[in-house]
């Protein structure tokens, strides 16, 4: 019964949210850009002019060509130029975007799941659990994310799974703190007490009743953190600590192009950088609007 009511409420809530979100053209543009980027990343193998990691297809004659050049065999125009190995930059960027976006979203979802569970437990149980979790959060947050991630990568070595672990480890605390704050407020409400009196199990109270009401601030933090995760991954990969060369994300592409920058061959690092930038700005625009829309204090009464 309760479930049914909250479902219709939720549907109405989402519609109202969408309407409120659409109030800002800039934010709509950001959302459109974000969708386009995610689609391009997902569809990379089908829309890229070339498979950039099929070494048999690369022609060393085509290396370091400026944007708009025709390939040696005349079959392809390199819209964004080529890199030192004759790889089409546009294809490399699309594939790199795929890796960056996948790593960013995967890390965010995992960090969200971990931080949210710990935050809920801390806020609901209080006492020792709360003290323990919040102490860990404090320690975690007193160090910059990049340092935590670098130490972990120094310990584990390179790899996609390792960088996801490093990103989760440096970001879970934000979700834990946000969830705990919301859970503390919501946990005192009457509906939680009613649920407890009905004899519902603790997990059921936590995840069916408490969690949905803690979601709005979490959504905002998550949207911001996806951008932070993508930027952090790019930074670590740029420094050579992140993803291995076999899975070049945008950060690694930029690092590879860096050496050519001094000779004026800007396209190898500038274009992947622009792709990274557009992704981060789009995410920030969306997150910013979500914050305005979801924050009850800023909503007109």
């Amino acid at each position: 019964m309760t479930g049914g009511v909250s479902h219709t409420d939720a549907a109405g809530g989402w519609r109202a949210l969408a309407r409120a979100y659409a109030g800002s053209p800039l934010a709509l543009g950001g959302l459109a850009l974000l969708l386009a980027i995610v689609l391009a990343a997902l569809a990379a193998p089908w829309i890229a002019p070339q498979d950039p990691y099929d070494l048999a297809r690369l022609d060393i004659m085509d290396s370091r060509l400026p944007p708009g050049s025709l390939s040696a065999d005349g079959s392809l125009t390199y819209l964004l130029g080529t890199d030192g190995q004759g790889r089409d930059m546009l294809s490399a960027i699309l594939y790199g975007l795929r890796i960056s976006v996948a790593v960013g979203f995967a890390a965010t979802l995992l960090a969200l799941a971990l931080g949210m569970s710990l935050g809920l437990a801390a806020g609901y149980a209080g006492g020792r659990t709360d003290a323990l979790v919040m102490r860990a959060v404090d320690i975690q947050m007193s160090f910059p994310a990049i340092l935590t991630a670098m130490i972990l990568l120094a310990l584990f070595g390179q790899g996609t799974d390792k960088i996801v672990i490093a990103l989760v480890a440096s970001q879970w605390a934000y979700y834990a703190r946000t969830t705990r704050g919301a859970a503390l407020v919501e946990g005192r409400r009457e509906y939680i007490e009613a649920a407890r009196l009905l004899g519902l199990s603790t997990p059921r109270i936590l995840f069916r009743h408490l969690l949905p009401n803690c979601l709005p601030p979490l959504i905002v933090v998550a949207a911001l953190q996806v951008a932070a995760a993508i930027a952090l991954e790019a930074t670590l990969s740029f420094l050579g600590l992140g993803l291995p060369v076999t899975e070049p994300s945008l950060g690694l592409l930029i690092a590879n192009g860096f050496q050519y920058l001094y000779s004026g061959r800007y396209w190898m690092s500038v274009f992947p950088g622009v792709a990274l930038l557009l992704t981060i700005v789009a995410l920030n625009l969306v997150a910013d609007r979500l914050r305005e829309v979801l924050n009850p204090r800023l909503r007109p009464q």
Partner: protein, 326 residues
């Protein structure tokens, strides 16, 4: 006050101990530095001799115990690669990083406060909106990419500023400093700007929101009613009240500047401790990594202690309690 300081120092020692244990055991678990250190053609006996000389043949707890005993005497071990004490290696490079971090902090504060003040006084003007939009960009642009763009524009295309390095250094008090000459300033400008960008955006936003809030306060209205010149109201009354949060955040962020210098230093080939850490991580030079982390933890805890004490000095309402600050 003495009790407060004592407790905080004890806490710092605690954190240092835990960090050293975590990092030491963690770093022990991965990679074998002998593979990097010894010539692949070396015989087994040679490898064993090197391992014994570096103490790497002992079990981890013996190694940690030895490390801890030495650390208490100020010896954090020798770098595997350079053979010199790790701490000395770091301290040699510390001036470069400090110069970079302090320059970045100066840029952030000296540009950020006026810009934030301007945007706060004219929130609806085109200039105010441009400043705030720029600060959002400063938050979202990845530091390393901005660094590349700075090099591309100012070094490669315009040729105004050097793209890397630190310039000539001069020795003062046994340390090498580069900012004593004009050439050093030319070298530090781009990396400092790069490192400052994020903090600049932060200071602008803090000052802007602080100014907007202060302008609505009674004391500002009263000062206006009293007929004080707008210049004096802003310069004395508003500025004074927004300085506390700005100082706190800027102080706390100084540690982040030092940590983040890893990125900027590697782009601009700045020979500081960040670059050293990066090289040590890739070459598995354990003692240097451990020493760097312990030093960073120490710097962090000391900074937060200084900020807490400063805060109490600036704001008479804040009392330093025995355990927790403010």
């Amino acid at each position: 006050m003495t009790l407060f300081l004592l407790r905080r120092l004890l806490q710092t020692v605690n954190v240092l101990f835990i960090m050293s244990l975590l990092v030491f055991v963690g770093i022990y678990a991965v990679g074998n530095p002998l593979d990097m250190l010894v010539d692949p053609q070396a015989t087994r006996a040679d490898v064993a001799r090197v391992a014994a000389a570096l103490g790497l043949d002992q079990p981890v707890w013996v190694q940690y115990g030895r490390f801890l005993a030495n650390a208490l005497r100020g010896d954090l071990g020798n770098s595997f690669l350079h053979g010199t004490p790790a701490l000395q290696l770091i301290l040699q490079r510390l001036p470069a990083t400090l110069e970079l971090a302090v320059s970045a902090l100066l840029i952030a504060v000296l540009l950020g406060i006026p810009l934030g003040l301007w945007a706060g006084l004219r929130p609806d003007s085109a200039s105010g909106k441009t400043i705030m939009a720029g600060s959002i960009l400063g938050f979202s642009l990845p530091t390393f990419w901005v660094g590349l763009m700075l090099i591309m524009v100012f070094s490669v295309y315009l040729g105004w500023l050097p793209s890397g390095g630190r310039g000539p250094t001069r020795e003062v008090l046994g340390m090498h400093w580069s900012l004593l000459g004009a050439e050093g300033w030319r070298h530090v400008l781009l990396p400092a700007l790069n490192l400052a960008l994020f903090k600049l955006a932060l200071v602008i936003r803090l000052t802007q929101s602080g100014t907007r809030e202060a302008l609505l306060q009674d004391y500002v209205r009263f000062a206006r009613a009293k007929g004080l010149a707008p210049r004096r109201i802003v310069g004395v009354h508003v500025l004074k009240n927004i300085m506390i949060p700005v100082i706190t955040v800027v102080g706390l962020e100084f540690g982040t500047l030092i940590a983040f210098s890893v990125v900027t230093e590697s782009i601009f080939a700045w020979p500081g401790i960040g670059k050293l850490l990066l090289d040590s991580i890739t070459l598995l030079d354990r003692p240097v990594v451990v020493a760097y982390l312990l030093l960073i933890v120490l710097i962090y805890t000391l900074i937060s202690l200084v900020v807490d004490v400063l805060y109490a000095a600036l704001d008479p309402r804040v009392r330093l309690a025995g355990g927790q600050a403010a």
